[in-house]
Subunit: 337 residues, 4 copies
């Protein structure tokens, strides 16, 4: 934290701020010179509450300086985290492709789609058994029956599975079936759920909140790491902005920022960012071009009948073409770093 | 839903869209005339997935028309909901004032502040025993010990209490102590928690999510009402925007919009919107001026030592002045409606 | 500017940053201690380009510290600027009320509305003769004929007039007729226009850009002051956010922030923020409640026939009620400061 | 426009709305059936003002349906516009690469950079002679001297030049020197400037406003086309959001949306979107991956001494690598469409 004093701040006002810093157990270091005095706050554990100083006489501004996260930081662990799921590496030089339907609807549906995913070279199968829905009147998922269908597809096609957990009540069950447990965008700051994920042995895919900063997202991951689970995959899925032509605005600059700040793998979900099929293909290619560690896309063989997000699901032949494109683009992009 | 066709759409394309609507169980009504054909979708239960039609040949746009909520709507219940807590009416012609510390820190702290709140004419005491914190290293609340302190203050000063519930695991306990259970901004779309709140007899204060539309906020309330609990108080607390001079941007136009759309009472939290003490007073007055049903503000007798949000807490004498101001302003504003 | 080094930055990296600061003509002051080194940049004129340092080896972050504006700052001039127009004070303890139609449509229209404005106690008449319109097919204003009508109304009712200038080409003409020249939201960073306004003797009303920070807004005012015109009135009119229930989101916390940072008067335009009549009244009251120096509202005696923004114009009887309400609220609020 | 009535709207209220539509010269078509009546507005020229109907008794909502633009629309001209500048095609199957310094600083600087741009296969040289700067104290450009330097570089290297015009006063001069005239983000809704651009014979590059919707951006282009200049190149450069890790948030989904809605070529400026060099390369690759028609990037041989935006300028060797990457990625992506 840096506290910037007004130009005409009196020595007494400076002294009062120094005392307030010391009363909170930190070290104050005044920086004289220039047109005004500033005061650095040192040796603080975690973030210092800037608003406390904002209102003291003579203070112009209180500016946070150090980042609040630790274990997720590249300063804490300089080398990339690589997570092994089945025989797939997540976080290294392999472009991870996760694909499948938005929601598990039936065994026939999942088996049909899984076969396409496998054939086109997808690495992992996705599918929701517990669905977070804005409306209580919308389809809420098949629950455990859905998880069983996913497990069957895993056995049949050798694809690990990722599926979403909604709350503490269903965590044990989801953890039993899934290879990767997904925490959705609306739960990014569900701290009890993050703590529970930290006690799990299973890798966690943590989607970015709809209006979360990268700092808040990394702090959410920090909750999981501090409880003992180092296997977190971050997933950018678009943020909410004034823009109306897509469901969300995909924030691709978050990828180089996360790769610079953290050692955790970071992938992209272009389907939920776009909301419309004709935007998903270009955004998925863009994800490979910014050197994300992978992507997760929705695929459906009969999207016009899908119970959820049909309009943003790729057709199997589109997915097939996509896989070839993104692997080429990733190769071209990787050589650049 | 209204589906707008391109100007050069062929009759076959129009027919295909009509068939797709009917296949999903809805009624299609083509609207000829003008420069292009549009097709209305009628008799749908809940929202229709617009993205499904977006990609069909000849379609220009698919536009949602009817609102997805029912029970919270003024069309469903024309008269205002009034909730009785202790001997306070929430939702009528009385301006509700809730005040107290951000977090329960000690019995001495809560009793001191509660006495001030009572003396200045506050209606309800607030205080957090379970705190949602961005950082795992920040103070997380006293838990049940905090709830006991709040209960003691209720007994001493006759003030009903509102306190936040974080997850399913602590709902029973919070419900036992609280007069109103608060669901925080990060949990606005925690659907399991909303369902649990719907099974409760205790009124629920539902804060707006950081980037939730009013529609999504009302849909979250709908989850609670559909489970059987009609006593929901909505609380606007600012939304996330590009603005950096305040913690959030208070969206005061949401108040007349909610009052028009819904019968539920709606209050304002200027403290979390502002983040800085010198903005809290003006925003609290503004809340009364837009005819919100009330407000919730943070008060602390020694904010520079507060474990949480000290910089946005009002001093007792500021709160006292505020109460007089907002009651006058509410009176002036009410006569206007 | 403060440059924060990585924890493991080498002494050579620190030296390189110091040299880069000095090469740009500034003074570098290293701040040792704590877990990492930071380096302050002192004696810089204007803002330092943070991005230059961001990419140097060993640098974690470059954080701007001092504000870039000077003449508009309260540090430069501690007392409030008060602008005298006709016999109205703008910026003092009087709540300024500006009202009138969105666009000048006819002499009859302007005279009818001006009479209502005068009768209800409005201070200044507004009306657009040159209209900035999103669409080239929309009504673009009456031009000089419109200015003449406004001048006639000024003469008839003794109301000073404010009207918008669109470009350099029409500045001389607008300046001849207007008492206050308005620079609209889309022109807030039209720097040639700002410079021209700086050379004028007429007061300028500078509306905030649709997505401008308060800093950028004050910098735009700085352009006017540096050219020699000290009479700038700032006008908050809502910012663009994800919210869809109002045309813009009124950022009322900007009022206390501007009053703290600058000596210039600051008013509110609730009509353009809301976009809907039923939101204008509550937001106008809120403007008085946050102690803005005044407000500008649209009034029309026959809004359903208006050529522009009819749906957000108040009826004369609504305006009359509003004037009484906001003057009461301003009085209640002022005593609080 | 579609006007949705409340469920309990009376026949008289419906009739009143129909009459109001007809009074404004449009055709009203009631759509009975379903749970409520809706009324379509037909045969309107340009946009209908929704706010006028919002407040009528019995009206629930007024929803705009048709897009307000015409000449820029793909419905108006189905085939792509291709603009020929020198021997470069803009808008076809060639990926346009524009590069150069942010600001023209000296002949030596421009000639050095232009040589690099030429050698790496850039198509067009950029450089600002008139600079829009947030601060009046920042470097404002060399003016005509800068334009002469650009013209010299064009002659020496055979690269067409694009440079920004700031206002009406300098349009003639900029037009004389430039091959493409750039209208910057802060001028996107400077309607006088757009009209002047429409009278020019020179192609115009129109950057998206900082918080403009795609509709508003296309309407701005419509101003230019209606005046007679069909050669408009759109340029996406990031929009303002709550995100703080990049200068703006690049909205790449705008590219497929513009390509669907309009026949005009659309390129991407990753430099201004990012603001930091280490984000520019990935975002430039992403621009090629979403099949933009090209990109504009800042290049500087000595960015640490640049007078403007040094921290986001690529080094010549980075630019060289980028050219090879983006041409490969564009090839891979194009085959997909």
């Amino acid at each position: 934290m840096l506290i910037v004093m007004q130009k005409d701040a009196t020595p007494d006002q400076v002294t009062a701020v120094i005392r307030a810093i010391e009363n909170r157990g930190h070290t104050a270091r005044p920086i004289p010179g220039g047109a005004r005095v500033s005061i650095g706050v040192l040796y603080n554990e975690g973030a210092v509450d800037a608003s406390v100083f904002h209102d003291m006489p003579g203070v112009k501004e209180a500016i946070p300086v150090t980042r609040p996260y630790k274990m997720v930081s590249r300063e804490f662990q300089p080398h990339d985290t690589i997570i092994r799921v089945g025989n797939v590496n997540i976080g290294g030089d392999h472009l991870l492709i996760i694909a499948g339907p938005c929601a598990v609807e039936s065994e026939h549906q999942v088996m049909t789609i899984a076969e396409h995913v496998k054939k086109s070279g997808g690495d992992i199968l996705r599918g929701g058994a517990f669905k977070p829905r804005t409306s209580p009147y919308a389809f809420q998922g098949l629950g455990e029956a859905g998880l069983k269908i996913l497990a069957k597809a895993r056995e049949a096609f050798g694809l690990p599975i990722v599926t979403e957990v909604l709350d503490l009540a269903c965590y044990d069950m989801v953890e039993d079936y899934a290879d990767i447990v997904q925490i959705g965008t609306r739960n990014m700051q569900n701290f009890s759920l993050l703590r529970r994920a930290g006690e799990s042995k299973k890798p966690v895919m943590l989607k970015r909140g709809m209006s979360a900063t990268v700092d808040e997202w990394l702090m959410a991951a920090e909750y999981i790491l501090t409880e003992g689970n180092p296997n977190v995959i971050l997933c950018e899925r678009g943020v909410r902005t004034f823009v109306r032509h897509s469901r969300n605005t995909l924030d691709l600059s978050a990828i180089p920022v996360v790769r610079r700040e953290s050692h955790l793998p970071v992938i992209v979900d272009p389907s939920h960012a776009a909301g419309f099929r004709d935007q998903v293909m270009p955004l998925a290619r863009a994800a490979a071009a910014v050197s994300a560690h992978g992507m997760m896309v929705e695929v459906h063989h009969a999207p016009e009948t899908a119970k959820c997000d049909g309009g943003q699901s790729l057709l199997p032949e589109q997915f097939d073409q996509l896989c070839r494109q993104v692997r080429s683009i990733f190769e071209v992009s990787r050589n650049a770093e």
